[in-house]
């Protein structure tokens, strides 16, 4: 039981990170029906921006996260404008191939500029503390990751549910033409969606830096794919689905590593994808409309 609770704690912080990344996938899919395969790489860029904010600018971790979020929000908007907008009325496969191209571009431009070697997040930016509570050991970074991720999700939920901009985002994803008839600018709304999704990914990138201490140009691939699985698991296009899917993936992964063999954890993640696609392609929360995936 103690072991299980310990795994739960580990899983929750990892799951919070996946959930944050999954949100960007699902929001972008919800609004333009595109799987943005460069999303995991935006997370990587965020991790680097956070790293340099700490090492070069000497900021603390919270400021580093904010800097990374702002940088990646802008990056997301620019990417959409340059790469995806011209393809909005072309086939889905064209946009998908572009997304894969962008993904590779971000990965290898980072390799070119910063080198392929990993960088170590300075330990001084986040001195590790261990709390022993009722036989469980909880790291302060786990608390930090979990609390800041949940906070960001609450803010997102507030934006989507309560603000005019958030409502416009929902309107555009429900019925683009009707939204236009309300005077909503679809272009602007899509830009905002990319900005928010990318900012959340950047926050996740900094969290991964804190959590695993090392970052590298290809670090976005696997977490990106797992977050994608999380988004599909919850029902792609559905925001609460992405959150739940993220936590499920995080917990599953730590359980597999904790009780089974950590070598299998990636295989299990992608096994989940195959199983959902076979059994319920619309995901846990998706209606069975048949179209969504």
């Amino acid at each position: 039981m103690l072991e299980f609770s310990q795994q739960m704690i580990n899983g929750l912080s990892l799951g919070a990170i996946y959930a944050l990344i999954a949100l960007g996938y699902t929001m972008v899919y919800g609004i333009i029906k595109l799987i943005n395969f460069a999303h995991g790489d935006i997370m990587m860029v965020g991790a680097y921006v956070g790293f340099f904010s700490i090492t070069l600018l000497g900021t603390n971790i919270v400021v580093a996260m904010l800097v990374a979020m702002i940088f990646c929000a802008a990056l997301g908007v620019i990417m959409e404008k340059i790469a995806y907008r011209p393809l909005r009325n072309s086939t889905r496969i064209a946009a998908l191939i572009t997304a894969i191209g962008l993904s590779l571009f971000l990965e290898y431009i980072t390799v070119v500029i910063l080198g392929p070697a990993q960088k170590v997040f300075p330990a001084s930016a986040f001195p590790v503390k261990v709390y022993n509570i009722a036989g469980l050991s909880i790291l302060n970074k786990q608390i930090f990751v979990f609390v800041s991720a949940v906070l960001l999700m609450l803010i997102l939920q507030y934006i989507i549910k309560r603000t005019k901009t958030g409502k416009a985002m929902r309107a555009v994803s429900l019925d683009q033409e009707a939204a236009v008839l309300m005077g909503i600018s679809v272009d602007r709304t899509i830009s905002i969606t990319f900005a928010i999704g990318s900012a959340l990914a950047a926050a996740a990138g900094v969290m991964i830096g804190v959590y695993y201490q090392t970052i590298n140009p290809l670090m976005g691939i696997i977490p990106g794919l797992k977050a994608f699985v999380a988004a599909v698991l919850g029902g792609i296009g559905l925001i609460p689905g992405a959150m739940v899917g993220g936590f499920v993936m995080g917990l599953l992964e730590t359980m597999v590593s904790g009780y089974g063999n950590s070598l299998y954890r990636d295989a299990v993640a992608f096994g989940v994808l195959i199983i959902i696609l076979l059994i319920k392609p619309t995901g846990l929360f998706g209606k069975n409309t048949g179209e969504k995936v």
Binding site: K167, R170, A171, L174, D175, E177, A178, V180, L181
Partner: protein, 234 residues
């Protein structure tokens, strides 16, 4: 108020509107009637800027709309109740109405219009927290109308608002249209229910395969043999 002059609209190779012209005078109700596929929806979408004519011009109070972004056209005072209602199914009634007022920022004015919509459609008030997709067809139509009114339009484009409604409700919808007009909103009404439409309209146009084939005062068109035969069931 609105002058559509010789517009051509294509869907790929399909020539949907052929040199179509019509005029809407301020304060009036103008109806555009025609059979399925004649080009009625295409006309309204062109006015709203969702479709772009390849030639011709659309003037609203002297201003050319053809090159203006659709969201700017809403800001100029043209709203549309689209065909098939197109309410935001997974948003609440209240949120749908808020979206109608998307371009407005004066809170008190929005609240006033919200109250007006609710007093016009008490059913919507009862169901304001409910998601729009759970409303009946008639209620959704009322919501679509209320949503368009939330923009406080000068010109209201309505695309077959009576479609799929029970006869009693159809009468109610037409009364509402008359009432909206009597409060100062100009209306361009697309209908297949020619009888009802002609009975409330001032001017009427008949469209066939993308072309206006008849036009005139609604009362006169109602007497016209051609219209009687083709659209009024004898």
């Amino acid at each position: 108020m609105l002058k559509v002059k010789g517009i051509d609209v294509y869907y790929g190779a399909i020539h949907a509107l052929k040199n179509l012209s019509l005029e809407v005078e301020e304060g009036s109700i103008v109806t555009l009637i025609g059979a399925n596929g004649a080009g009625k929806t295409t006309t309204l979408k062109s006015i709203s800027g969702i479709l772009r004519p390849t030639s011709g011009s659309i003037l609203f109070k002297g201003q050319e709309l053809v090159k203006i972004a659709p969201e700017k056209i809403v800001a100029l005072g043209i709203s549309q109740v689209p065909e098939g209602r197109r309410v935001f199914q997974e948003m609440s009634v209240l949120e749908n109405l808020e979206m109608g007022a998307y371009l407005r920022s004066y809170k008190k004015g929005i609240q006033e219009d919200m109250d007006n919509v609710f007093s016009r459609f008490p059913r919507l008030k009862e169901r304001r927290k409910q998601s729009a997709g759970t409303l009946s067809g008639g209620e959704q139509q009322m919501l679509a109308i209320g949503r368009a009114l939330m923009a406080r339009p000068q010109l209201l484009l309505m695309d077959e608002p009576s479609m799929g409604l029970a006869p009693l409700l159809v009468v109610e919808i037409f009364n509402i249209i008359k009432d909206i007009n009597s409060r100062g909103t100009t209306i361009l009404l697309v209908e297949q229910n020619a009888n009802m439409a002609l009975s409330i309209a001032d001017q009427a146009y008949v469209i066939e395969t993308g072309d206006i084939v008849l036009q005139g005062a609604a009362k006169e068109l109602m007497q016209s043999e051609e219209v009687k035969k083709a659209y009024l069931g004898g």
